[in-house]
């Protein structure tokens, strides 16, 4: 191969590789790049650590709620904010499903982040949220869980492991199926 051939090769390979990479990235994102904000991934996302980080949260009723004391129950942690439209949209759904599972071994905890107290109170009032809610004022819990957007949900099974993590709002059907699945696992574990 002559000098020309070498130069041709040395130019063509990186250029074509770069173009191929950019094409791949565009195909992957459907030609639409990620714009403002990072929560382009909606739905179920990977759980980074299955051990839930314990916390103590002061609820709106001024009670101390400690996560580790709920061991044995299926727990859903919901990080939300009163100014976030999807959170407001799913608030009735959450309340309704919570009521449906009343009496079963299920607990919901709402953790409001990046919010103001009066706004949180009026939100809880407006949607008559039945489950305990608290404000994570300095973001300690949110950071501990690596929350990158709202709403974001973590499901903890009765053995105290984080098993599922969801970004974005959720409909009632989906929520029920997850809870049922976790309760079934719990029953299996209890019987077996």
């Amino acid at each position: 191969m002559g000098k020309r051939g070498w130069i041709l090769l040395g130019t063509a390979v990186p250029v074509l590789a770069l173009l191929a990479l950019l094409t791949w990235a565009s195909v992957k994102s459907g030609g639409v790049p990620g714009g403002f904000g990072v929560n382009t991934e909606f739905g179920q996302v990977e759980v980074l650590s299955d051990t839930p980080r314990d916390f103590s949260l002061e609820t709106l009723d001024s009670e101390q709620l400690v996560l580790s004391q709920l061991r044995g129950k299926v727990v859903m942690l919901d990080f939300w904010s009163s100014w976030c439209p999807p959170c407001r949209a799913e608030a009735p759904v959450l309340s309704q499903v919570y009521a449906e599972y009343d009496g079963k071994s299920v607990e919901f905890i709402g953790i409001s982040i990046w919010d103001r107290k009066d706004a949180v109170l009026s939100h809880v009032d407006e949607y008559s949220v039945p489950y305990p809610n608290g404000i994570d004022g300095d973001g300690r819990i949110a950071i501990d869980y690596g929350v990158t957007g709202i709403p974001e949900k973590f499901f903890i099974d009765s053995d105290g492991r984080v098993v599922k993590r969801f970004v974005g709002p959720m409909n009632a059907g989906r929520l029920r199926s997850i809870l049922d699945e976790l309760l079934a696992d719990h029953a299996k574990g209890a019987s077996g």
């Binding site: 973001g139 950071i143 869980y145």
Partner: protein, 196 residues
């Protein structure tokens, strides 16, 4: 002559060596100089004692998870402020810089780091560009050296012997206002003097 030739490569070699050494030094000792003078009073949150400059250095190495391409030092959102606060708390608890970074990486994944660690698969992020740059610079210098030929003198003699050129040469000389090109411009290349 030998001396002159050797010394002629010297500054080039010096520049290259300079670039290579500083490049390696920076990679080997990351984040030198990005901290500030530690003598300044801190007015951060009143938790324990920590080095504010160290904290600011860490702020710059953590990406804001909810913002596009901004570190928590830059981002103007609440989460970034909370993360800054957390950095300071951890430092006050005695965490080292690396431990603080690990703390956040454990929670947010490697995406939260402004630059990946120089270990594991991410070593390629650092090694490959350095390698390419050194390789490219080396190749460039080799090509440059190969272009070097003592051609000027040969060409001069050759053209000088060309009788047909004489009228044009005179035209140029007259243009340059040399009355006598032989004395003014030197008819033959003078011997190269020894260096010095």
């Amino acid at each position: 002559m030998l001396n002159a030739r050797r010394s002629s490569i010297f500054p080039v070699a010096l520049a290259t060596a300079f670039a290579a050494v500083t490049l390696l030094a920076l990679v080997a000792f990351p984040s030198t100089g990005f901290a500030q003078d530690g003598s300044l009073p801190s007015s951060g949150p009143p938790t324990g004692s920590y080095n504010e400059d160290e904290a600011q250095g860490i702020d710059r190495m953590l990406m804001c998870p909810v913002c596009p391409a901004e570190s928590i030092d830059q981002a103007q959102v609440e989460l970034a402020r909370q993360m800054q606060q957390k950095v300071r708390e951890l430092l006050a608890e005695g965490y080292t810089r690396q431990e603080v970074l690990d703390y956040f990486e454990e929670r947010y994944g490697p995406k939260v780091l402004a630059a990946p660690p120089k270990t594991g698969a991410h070593i390629w992020a650092w090694v490959l560009p350095i390698g390419s740059v050194l390789l490219g610079t080396g190749a460039g210098l080799v090509i440059l050296r190969s272009m070097k030929r003592p051609s000027a003198a040969r060409q001069t003699v050759q053209e000088q012997g060309d009788e047909d050129l004489q009228p044009y040469l005179e035209e140029v000389d007259r243009g340059l206002a040399f009355d006598d090109p032989a004395t003014a411009a030197g008819s033959s290349p003078p011997p190269e003097e020894p260096n010095g």
